[in-house]
């Protein structure tokens, strides 16, 4: 009889994807000479102190992070925390004061202008909060802009632009001018302009913030759909916690120019780094953000049994450990059933929950199950259990009343 008692949490550990963008110690000081401000910051001063003592605006301070291929990386923070500056440093619309930005290993900050332009034309697109469409061009001509600038022939770029407009559902509006389109449609054109050149990286600065809530949700779904069709590396700026939770693979939270926390939505909800981050996500309904796999625990109290073993010694171990239930797995780690200390047979009616199920869909099942609810992944592999206590604790932490 083998009893495995792993203390490790079974969390959403996806394999390490390839890193596209590496940002290291990136700083932006809005001054002709950034050195006094940089040394003040080095000595531990904050943005407010630099502004007071030197009358210099600090945009971004010592930002370091990796963005992986195919992920939606959301940067969020209050207004003025440096999000727009950060995203503009990535394509050098704003020149960094210090630090490195490596795209596929190549340092963009050292690139001469001519070569940077080539990178922007080939790899990067941007979507703006204010749409920034050219008013003298039709939707089609706007969508074709990036290709036109890159010197693509007229027929080819119009075909690509039309395809992009169709991708965002605006094929029928190719000949319209921006002023003839609603805000949501204008931003679809903005999205089409970004997609037309088939970039590998998209920078989106509060791309949906100017839209009505309903249209905004629609655009978020659109983005997620496009991302399923073809996973691009997306840096998405937002000041809206709900939006970040919905679309992000990972989130970086900024405060006064610094990044204060980076993690998956679940990680940030579970363990906010400080009061600022906690306050940011306070209103978010965590039962809709968190999935069963985020809550699934496999700790000392969770007894795992091997299907091949005899029942009798297994039951004895359960009582020795004082555990009520054991979770039975096969050789491949797949969940087979739950063994109760009181019975020799597997319990009836304990269906495992899918790891991707949102927590709010689990409430009834956790409440009515005789034991902590087992959670499995798509292959049926056991991930851990959700107990009533863990569920209540999570719901309590996400609610407004917590301090």
């Amino acid at each position: 009889m083998t009893l495995i008692l792993p203390s490790e949490t079974a969390s959403s550990s996806t394999g390490p994807a390839e890193v596209r963008l590496e940002v290291r110690r990136l700083c932006k000081i809005f001054a002709d000479d950034p050195r006094p401000a940089l040394s003040l910051l080095e000595a531990g001063a904050g943005k407010a102190e630099v502004l007071r003592r030197l009358n210099v605006n600090v945009g971004v301070v010592d930002a370091s992070f990796d963005i992986r291929a195919g992920e939606i990386f959301v940067i969020m923070g209050l207004s003025g925390s440096g999000k727009s500056t950060m995203v503009r440093l990535l394509n050098r619309l704003i020149e960094p004061s210090r630090g490195e930005i490596r795209l596929d290993g190549r340092d963009l900050t050292r690139l001469p202008k001519r070569e940077l332009v080539e990178v922007l034309r080939r790899d990067m697109s941007m979507v703006f909060q204010s749409f920034a469409l050219l008013p003298n061009r039709t939707a089609l001509e706007n969508a074709a802009f990036g290709l036109e600038v890159a010197g693509v022939g007229k027929a080819a770029r119009r075909a690509a632009a039309l395809r992009a407009l169709e991708q965002v559902g605006l094929g029928a509006y190719a000949g319209r001018y921006p002023r003839e389109l609603s805000g949501g449609m204008q931003q679809r054109v903005g999205l089409a302009r970004a997609l037309a050149k088939n970039p590998t990286i998209m920078l989106m600065d509060e791309a949906f913030s100017a839209l009505d809530p309903l249209i905004r949700a629609e655009m978020q779904n659109e983005l997620l759909r496009l991302q399923r069709e073809q996973a691009r590396t997306i840096v998405f700026i937002s000041h809206d916690a709900e939006e970040a939770m919905r679309i992000a693979d990972r989130i970086a939270v900024m405060e006064d120019g610094r990044i204060v926390q980076i993690g998956t939505p679940a990680e940030i909800l579970r363990e906010p780094a400080d009061e600022y981050v906690r306050a940011f996500f306070r209103g978010v309904d965590s039962s809709r953000v968190l999935r069963a796999r985020d809550l699934a625990r496999c700790d000392a109290a969770t007894v795992l049994l091997d299907e091949a073993d005899d029942r009798r010694p297994a039951l004895r171990r359960l009582s020795e450990l004082g555990a009520g239930y054991g979770y039975v797995r096969d050789r491949a780690g797949r969940f087979r059933g739950v063994l109760s200390r009181d019975g020799a047979d597997l319990l009836d009616g304990v269906e495992p929950a899918a790891g991707d199920a949102p927590v709010h869909a689990l409430l009834r099942r956790v409440a009515t199950a005789p034991c902590p609810l087992p959670v499995v992944d798509g292959q049926g592999v056991f991930l851990g259990v959700v107990s009533r206590a863990a569920l209540l604790e999570t719901l309590d932490r996400g609610s407004l009343g917590d301090g």
Partner: protein, 285 residues
Amino acid sequence: MDEDLAAAIGGGIGVWSERLVNAILDHGQPALDVVAALVDGFGGAIDGALLGAPPWALGGAITAAALWRVGKGFALFTALAFAAIFAMDLWEPTVSTLGLVLASTALSLAAGVPLGIWMARSRIADGLGKTLLDLMQTMPAFVYLIPAVMFFGLGRVPGIIATVIFAMPPAVRLTALGIRQVPPELVEAGRAFGCRDHQLLFKVQLPNALPSIMAGVNQTMMMALSMIVVASMIGAGGLGNVVLQGIQRLDIGLGVESGLAVVLLAVVIDRITQSFGTGRGGKAR
């Protein structure tokens, strides 16, 4: 003592300007001849084309432009205005004045738009340019008639050049203003999608500065029209000449007729060029 110094400085400026003009006359004659030939050729070609066309064709073309850009009512006004000018026997001087205005405007734009673009892009150019424009706009026009005549003699060429100096500033200022007023996010979009400097200028900045630039064209034309009497004093001809004759002979009829022709021409030019700044039929774009 102070007065001596002041007199010396004051006299100095006069003396130096005289020396400068003389130096240009002594050493710059070949260059002046080239400029004169170019301006004369350009002005002459426009004049020739306008005067060569039969009156009904030219009047009809301008009326058609009025119909297209402004509307039916204004087209009728334009047709009547040209009929009246023809009936007053002022067709030829009017067309010649139109030629002078068009030539001066074209040259003002050729020099003024690039200068405006440069001023919008460089702080140094902006400082120098503003000083130059202030000088051009405040210096009484009669003052630069003197060197214009000394350099180019009497006739169409000094007339056009003096008019250009007088009428160019709004084209420069409104070009620079228009480019600076292009929303910064459009410029950001241009750069984010990989525009080089000239692409940014021609694909983003100039198209979006166009209403402002067209307002500059309109003002430049109006200022050129207001120079025609002064220009005719140095032999530029046209309606200005007729106005001068009316004054010299105290011929009230001639004075009123020629004055009316200037006003009618001004209204037609003003409304048609304005429409390019605001969109057809006066709609805001």
